[in-house]
């Protein structure tokens, strides 16, 4: 399984849990339907922590991990990033949109509305 897919599944477990999880707990949840090394899960969580996507706290001699943002918050932030221009108003060449030029403030409102409507 590709590393990216594993990262995504680890994040899904953390988001679904709703509470901080230890490496062992994440490993248990993921190995219900497949063979997976404990150290692999540990490495993945460590990588995600280094990237700032999950936070690591020490409790009872074990690290516990939580997502830095909820799934909805992260999605909204990402959409906003995808749709906003650089500070000087120049469209960033980093991303190309299908719809063309968009106004960030209108989009923030739309994203907020979409989140509340769910």
């Amino acid at each position: 399984m590709a590393l990216g897919d594993l990262e995504r599944e680890v994040m899904t477990q953390l988001w679904n849990a709703g509470e901080p999880l230890t490496v062992r707990q994440v490993h248990e949840r993921l190995s219900r339907d497949r063979e997976l090394a404990y150290t692999t899960v540990m490495t993945v969580l460590d990588r995600l922590a280094k990237k700032g996507v999950v936070t690591q706290q020490r409790a009872d001699r074990a690290y516990r991990y939580t997502p830095a943002q909820t799934r909805e918050e992260m999605t909204a932030a990402l959409m906003l990033d995808a749709l906003s221009a650089a500070p000087d108003g120049v469209r960033d060449a980093a991303l190309a949109h299908f719809v063309g030029r968009l106004d960030p403030s209108a989009l923030t409102a739309a994203i907020e509305a979409a989140r509340k409507g769910k």
Binding site: R71, A94, L95, A96, D103, A109
Partner: protein, 307 residues
């Protein structure tokens, strides 16, 4: 004289020509050639500026009839300014590309973590490798260029578009990725940021962006037909515009132009002719500053030839 000519040409290229070309409608029918023309206009402008800097001081000293040290100083000054111009452009290019690379890699990480493509049965049967679905109601689509590219659709886009329209949108984004439109946009952005305030113009940036959208539209039209693409453009645009502020009028006009050109199919001969003329123009523009610099020099060299 050389410096004056080059200066006039450079100012025309950076202040007058962009406005004229941005207002023209023929580029809609030959967008690839028009992008080439924009590139050559920009590059020729830089060449003119360099030419002025290199030829100007020496000519000035010559006119004033000054002695040798002044001539040498003028030459040094010219070289320094030319180096500054080139350096500024290069620094700007590196900055823009580093910045967008960092933004892309962060964005790619997050979009991979949030991907829900597996849960969307309505996606086309052969899902392209880099396709990601973001669970959000706002319907839009975009692509993430780079060595490991992604095409991103939102859940909202999948909800409003039918299968053929989704395929057309994916084809459009893949055309952006395949032809590396991001590199073209980055070079124009870098140039824009490097030019000093009073001389800088948004016209090339905006015009080239729209032209690249048209190039991607053409690729999507070839693969999926015009009808689904038009449908997708109309649906995705409308979904964002209801409470759009006034300055989005531009975006609406741009979409109108894209829809209009997709409604007609040009005769290939007309497109070929336009493309040929534009490409020849682009080539001529690049040659012109060089000729202006080289001709007087050649003239002098020939008259000094000991025969």
């Amino acid at each position: 004289m050389t410096a004056l000519l080059l200066g006039a040409l450079g100012l025309t290229l950076s202040l007058v020509v962009p406005g004229v070309l941005a207002g023209a409608r023929w580029p809609d029918r030959a967008p690839v050639a028009a992008v080439a023309l924009w590139q050559s206009i920009t590059l020729a402008g830089v060449l003119c500026a360099l030419g002025v800097v290199l030829a100007g001081p020496q000519e000035l000293v010559g006119e004033l009839g000054a002695d040798r040290p002044a001539g040498a100083a003028a030459l040094v000054f010219a070289l320094v300014v030319a180096t500054v111009i080139i350096g500024r452009l290069l620094v700007s290019l590196v900055r823009v590309s580093l910045r967008s690379r960092a933004r892309r890699s962060r964005h790619r990480l997050l979009v991979d973590l949030l991907d829900t493509a597996e849960r969307h049965g309505e996606l086309p049967a052969e899902v392209p490798a880099g396709l990601r679905v973001l669970d959000g109601e706002l319907p839009f689509a975009y692509c993430l260029p780079g060595r490991s590219p992604r095409v991103v659709l939102t859940g909202g886009a999948l909800r409003v578009l039918d299968a053929a329209q989704v395929a057309a949108v994916i084809a459009h984004e893949q055309a952006h990725l395949r032809y590396r439109h991001d590199v073209v946009m980055e070079s124009f952005t870098a140039f824009y940021r490097a030019v000093p305030g009073p001389l800088r113009s948004r016209a090339p940036l905006d015009a080239v962006h729209l032209l690249l959208e048209m190039v991607a539209d053409d690729a999507a039209r070839r693969r999926c037909g015009a009808a689904p693409l038009r449908g997708a453009l109309a649906l995705l645009g409308d979904a964002v515009s209801p409470d759009a502020p006034a300055d989005l009028g531009d975006a609406a006009a741009e979409r109108r132009r894209r829809l209009d050109r997709l409604a007609v199919s040009d005769r290939p001969s007309a497109t070929v002719l336009l493309t040929l003329v534009a490409v020849l123009g682009a080539a001529a523009l690049l040659v012109l500053p060089t000729v202006i610099v080289v001709l007087p020099w050649l003239d002098r060299a020939l008259s000094a030839w000991p025969l």
